[in-house]
Amino acid sequence: MNQLLSVNGLCKSYSEQMVVRSVSFDIRESSTVGIVGESGSGKTTLVKSILRAIKPDAGSVRYHSRAGWKNLDQLSSKDLLPLRREIQMIFQDPFASLNPRMTVQAILEEPLNIHKMGNSTWRKQRVAEMLQRVQLDASSAGRFPHAFSGGQRQRIGIARALILEPRLVVCDESVSALDVSVQAQILDLLNDLQKDLGLTYLFVAHDLSVVREFCDEVLVMYKGRLVEQGATKQVFDKPQHDYTRLLLSAIPSLNPDEPLQPLDRKLLDLD
């Protein structure tokens, strides 16, 4: 499989505070890469720098677009616009991420309008296709976000991200606000969409059991550093870094006879 994204020595600090410290990793096409770490470990800052929602201080983000390799960190916002079609994001909070005053039709059409794609008939048709893809009723198009449940809103968010046919989709805690049963349905949907459309996911999460099930590779972040990366099975079965061990020891088992014995943070060599 081809490489899709290559991050090299990425750094970002907010007023003297280093939030991301020299992070490097690669993502292969059509794979799912999970980023885990506690709050404040720099996960969100890292993905925001990749998306160029913020400008990184140092390091490079190279992306293999349909038109060849591009340096995302160097491009001006005008040159970035065509690439934004290829990299999309699904947000955490299905309530905050949809404009309450826009209909679903308008929400889903907006990305097409921004990129000046098609005429209005085509756009309508595309919205209908997308709603079907995320298993929402065609009549949803005329309704406002408040008429939907959390899981349905998340489906709208997914449809909005996918309507531009992106190749890389960044999911920032996209299932953590959902109930477990709804979460399972959304994960199934993301899996099906990946199979059909050949998507690549960068999946930020703090729930390790979700990452274990959903991701091919895992990046573990701690205090802005990448402390461990590898295939999911490898990382979960044979963790190398103490922080990964601490994270794994904190997963509550479904078996009542396997009591939780979290490692003591103070006894570990974390830095």
Binding site: V180, S181, Q183, Q185, E213, L254, P262
Partner: protein, 307 residues
Amino acid sequence: MSDCLLSINDLSVVFKTEFGFVQALDQVSFNVPRESVTALVGESGSGKSVTSNSIMRLLPSNAKCVGGITMYPANADPIPISSLKPKDARLRRVRGELVSMVFQDPMTALSPVHRIGDQVAEAILCHRKVNNKTAWNEAATMLTRVGIPDVQQKMRMYPFEFSGGMRQRAIIAMALVCNPQLLICDEPTTALDVTVQAEILVLIKSLQKSLKNSVLFITHDLGVVAQVADRVVIMYNGQIVEEGSVRKILGTPEHPYTRHLLTSFPGAQRKQQSGSRPGNLKKAAATGADTELIWTSADHRVRRYIQ
């Protein structure tokens, strides 16, 4: 003295809203045994929090509540919580002294403008006739017990100076400082990181063992249930669908909704049964919702369902 600390009998709660009546609880009955942890499990909207708020009599004024909630405190007369008048002195005893709560969001549960030490000591001063100094010292002892280091210095700090895990520890201290016989934990770890969650769960469990109180633990995370609970009550749509020991419920669940919850749990089991779409099972549970709850053995009951 019976083994039962709290008994809920045919509790139904209806909310009057501008869109009509909403039935939040439908004839919910279960017991909370002494010195054990009972978990109340269900998705959002299943009625978990309404149940716990009914125990504290914290329902809003548009709620109509029918049914009986009786508490059997050790060495005291039973208290019919559901029929107490709002001004009854016993209600004040129930809230905070006999029953106390730990909430989901540690920042909203603490006052931002009072020092941690004063907030914990206030809980003692509200319920017992002691002077400020004794209350402060007892607060210090309890804060040490929940694992807060340099306690005298930390007690003079404000909530914003604490991390999320430390705040939740302070709230647990505040809840336990009057030695309540029932501690209600309403999703106490949902807002916390997984490593902090593990520490708090271990803390709640070990305090329950040493203080010998009962805990009613509300959650939707079955991993958490497996780690802390002795008994499990599964709720769906305002009704109990299954109740039993933690081993029975997680090992050999009988109701399709319970099985559906278990298969939704991210992990090994779902991989093996890929193809079982949770959505279909949910409908199976919903169609069984009108049928009665029957005891299958002395400590397990399940709502009958249509297969």
